[in-house]
Symmetry: C3
Subunit: 144 residues, 3 copies
């Protein structure tokens, strides 16, 4: 049990995605974290969108990301005949569904001033829209 004084810090990451797929943001998040004086605590990430999400996944073999993208594209393909919401294009409603199946918020313990990810874990912004988008990720750290 630590006995220092608890502090918190909020900031925002603006990230431009290249279109559908997983974008590794581990380094950007670790850099933001290293800019605070908090060495032990919790890091909370939150995307302010409903057509992209956050995912922690394997950071080694890129085939894992490729296969994850394939799975979601097959589970939630464009052009399903029962879709009603079509005003923003054929990729929009599948993007909302893919977001619902993954995470809008992720919480990671912080230890030694770093996100306490496992050896094979990377943090990804999962873009579900076909085209590039500008995305806002909120970053909140609390600890001491």
């Amino acid at each position: 049990m630590t006995t220092g004084v608890m502090q918190q810090k909020q900031s925002k990451l603006a990230i431009t995605t290249p279109g559908r797929g997983m974008l590794n943001i581990t380094r950007e998040v670790a850099t933001l974290l290293s800019g605070s004086t908090i060495s032990e605590g919790m890091l909370h990430l939150f995307v302010q969108h409903t057509s992209c999400s956050l995912l922690i996944q394997e950071n080694a073999d890129p085939d894992v990301r490729h296969d994850l993208e394939t799975f979601f594209r097959r589970l939630v393909p464009e052009g399903m005949e029962w879709i009603v919401h079509r005003t923003e294009g054929p990729d929009d409603m599948p993007a909302h569904i893919r977001t619902a199946l993954t995470q809008t918020s992720i919480s990671i313990p912080v230890s030694g001033g770093r996100p306490a990810l496992g050896t094979w874990q990377g943090l990804y912004l999962f873009e579900h829209r076909a085209r590039p988008h500008r995305r806002q990720v909120l970053f909140h750290i609390i600890g001491e």
Copy 2:
């Protein structure tokens, strides 16, 4: 980095759902938040059930909620022949599965005394049982 004194507050929201589908609880949560003196921090929500869940999704076109419900109903239909757990009715096991595919806990940064949701984000209680249910949502805010 803020330097005030960190505080926390817990409370409970009791919500009656009208049956299967997404119920917008953004306003109820924002009201609870405005009753605290915390202006910057983290808001954690948690449902004490295994057949409903929490979801952040588009708050504009109601067709999005309609299509999300359709997707989950098609992915996890009632009457799948391999289901063993049938004692609480045909909608019960699909409700557990839909819960597993979405979230029991969601964490949202708080800024300026409000949940820092994106423009198009709403917070929903996703009821997976066919009939109306009384649901408990725990609310925890920490910050200063």
Copy 3:
């Protein structure tokens, strides 16, 4: 609103799973919690792996866990012909996908020194690999 001094504590649970399926870790987590002096706050759990996950689900009828396992095995079967990542065996890529569809981090309010789970909720480590694995679950509690 409580006015004590906020504290935090981090520790790690090492858990050996018996292979694919849901392992109840509610008791282990409650025991860790009871070893701290925090009675009200938030508990954050995080798995440092990308082929197992955390799930809150029904703790009563074991058929629910059986059916959940069946659902995920049918939704993400071994041997899908489009999978590229095969170096770690036929169960590996399905394990990554099952992890993406569930949770790597879960946050639970703490009240009266206990996780504020609902009556029918249990906390599970969801092993997605076929064989037994040694898993690390990070445990972070913050409160007073």
